[in-house]
Amino acid sequence: MTPETLTVDSRDFADHGRLVTAVGEIDHDTAGRLRAVIDEALADGRVHVVLDVAGVTFCDSGGLNLFVDAHRRTAARNGWFRLAAVSGSVRAVVDATNLDRYLAIYSDVETALDGD
């Protein structure tokens, strides 16, 4: 796995929100960096986290693990975690594991950023 397989950017929105954009592959090897960015958001009091996965081409159980973890940790802080622009391979793996019933899933980033 080369380090270039996943790039992560983030920017703040509203009072408590941070939008994290992931591009590339999320697996057990790359999930650590994404986790670090989410940790940072929580440390900064950004408890509304939107993860934009439009540019994610592959996701395995390492990624799902991270989503579930982010969901739990934001909820524990009275916040929320939303997966945005979910389609293709992310959609397939989330559906296959029935996690569509657990995670907050949005088809586009704008809707995910709106509302509480």
Partner: protein
């Protein structure tokens, strides 16, 4: 009559000596006892990847070579669970399948003097001795490391060592039910596992895939398997078993570790299958020569994620002879050099071919697993586990040595 007493003596010798023997004594004791009947024996054990049969070394004898399962008489006896008779200049050879009940552990080569009548009585005796030795291997293996070592072609990772010690035998059969499983990569398995219990008329079976890699995934898998067993043995149904895994994983792992799984129970009187699907690839129902459908009911969240809903069981009424093929995603997602996945279609097609060819259930799985490995480009990215369950008397019979199949029609003349 004299011959019968000699064979009884052989069996008594084996049992007497087995009480205090060390793992390395098993093969020489058999050789010594069989030698009194003028028969030479060599015991071969199957390796974890089920590719080669490895002879147990005996002091004072030149080492025999390992034999490939796919290209030898020994391999034929192993894979088809049948005795194979070969005539050579040095004498007649018999290769008898060695099962531990129904789990294939290896073969025994019996060499008899030229001119010995190769009749059914002799075959029955060889298979009986091989069966006894198969059981003795199972009880002797935990005494030391030697028999474990003979089955390994390379060292195991810590995760694989832990997992194999938790797993049930590959294959178990009752009168009308067979359950068999296979796991790869044998020496480096991480989070995949399986379990079953064939008590009574409602056998239960589980296939499980814990998220993560190597030892961390293996630990989650071990906790999940133990939670399933403890709950089942306390009388808990499938739903309670799933809840117990949820609780145990949440308690032991703080990083949202989860496992996908199928938990199922088949009623052997009615054919009704009940199952839960915790985020796992659905079971495939195979009938006759084809795929009937994938079983898409009973869906709940993966094990370890707080599922507060009460999941309704998936239900399906099977017909006699039906097979259920369960797998982890490492099977269908194995990629070749072009990135093409192994896929469900290929899996089902191969399963059907092997079924039509009349292969025993564990042999079908062995070949399926090797097909996945062959397809895979480079080292496996994930564990690949397959489980095949069949509701059938004839399939059950195919997993035991021929002369044990109809014990009432004993080969002995009356």
């Amino acid at each position: 009559m004299a011959a019968e007493i000699q064979w009884l003596d052989l069996i008594q010798t084996l049992l007497d000596r087995s009480h205090r023997w060390r793992p390395e004594d098993l093969a020489p004791v058999l050789s010594e006892a069989a030698g009194r009947l003028g028969i030479a024996t060599t015991v071969y054990l199957i390796d974890y990847e089920q590719r080669q049969l490895w002879p147990l070394p005996e002091p004072g004898r030149p080492a025999s070579e390992a034999l490939p399962v796919d290209a030898s008489s020994a391999g034929q006896a192993f894979s088809l669970v049948e005795s194979v008779h070969v005539r050579t200049d040095a004498g007649d050879q018999w290769w008898s399948p060695m099962v531990n009940g129904t789990d294939r552990v290896g073969v025994i080569q019996f060499v008899v003097p030229t001119g010995t009548d190769p009749d059914a009585t002799l075959q029955r005796r060889f298979e009986a001795v091989a069966g006894l030795v198969g059981h003795l291997i199972t009880t002797t293996t935990p005494r030391g490391d030697r028999l474990h070592q003979e089955r390994r072609t390379r060292p195991m990772t810590i995760g694989a060592e832990m997992l194999w010690q938790m797993l049930q035998p590959w294959t178990v059969t009752t009168n009308d039910f067979v359950v068999s499983a296979v796991l790869e990569p044998s020496y480096d398995v991480g989070g995949d596992g399986y379990d079953y219990a064939v008590d009574g008329r409602r056998p239960q079976f589980v296939i499980l895939d814990a998220a993560g890699h190597q030892l961390r995934a293996g630990l989650a898998c071990a906790v999940a398997l133990a939670a399933v067993r403890a709950t089942r043995r306390a009388g808990g149904d499938l739903r309670r078993q799933a809840r117990a895994v949820d609780a145990a994983l949440q308690e032991q792992f703080t990083d949202a570790r989860f496992a996908t799984a199928i938990l199922a129970e088949l009623d052997l009187d009615t054919g009704v299958l009940r199952y839960l699907n915790a985020g796992h690839p659905p079971p495939l129902l195979l009938r006759g020569g084809q795929l009937v459908r994938s079983l898409d009911g009973g869906r709940r969240l993966p094990l370890g994620i707080d599922d507060n809903e009460i999941t309704a069981y998936g239900e399906e009424r099977l017909l006699p002879g039906d097979r259920l093929l369960l797998h982890t995603d490492g099977v269908t997602e194995a990629r070749d050099t072009l990135g093409e996945q192994f896929g469900t279609r290929r899996l089902v097609d191969l399963a059907e071919q092997h079924h039509v060819a009349g292969l025993p259930v564990p042999e079908t799985l062995r070949r399926l697993s090797h097909a996945v490995t062959r397809h895979q480009h480079g080292p496996p990215a994930d564990d690949a586990t397959l489980m095949l369950v069949q509701w059938s008397e004839s399939a059950a019979e195919r997993t035991i040595p021929p002369t044990s199949r109809r014990p009432d029609d004993d080969a002995e003349p009356r």
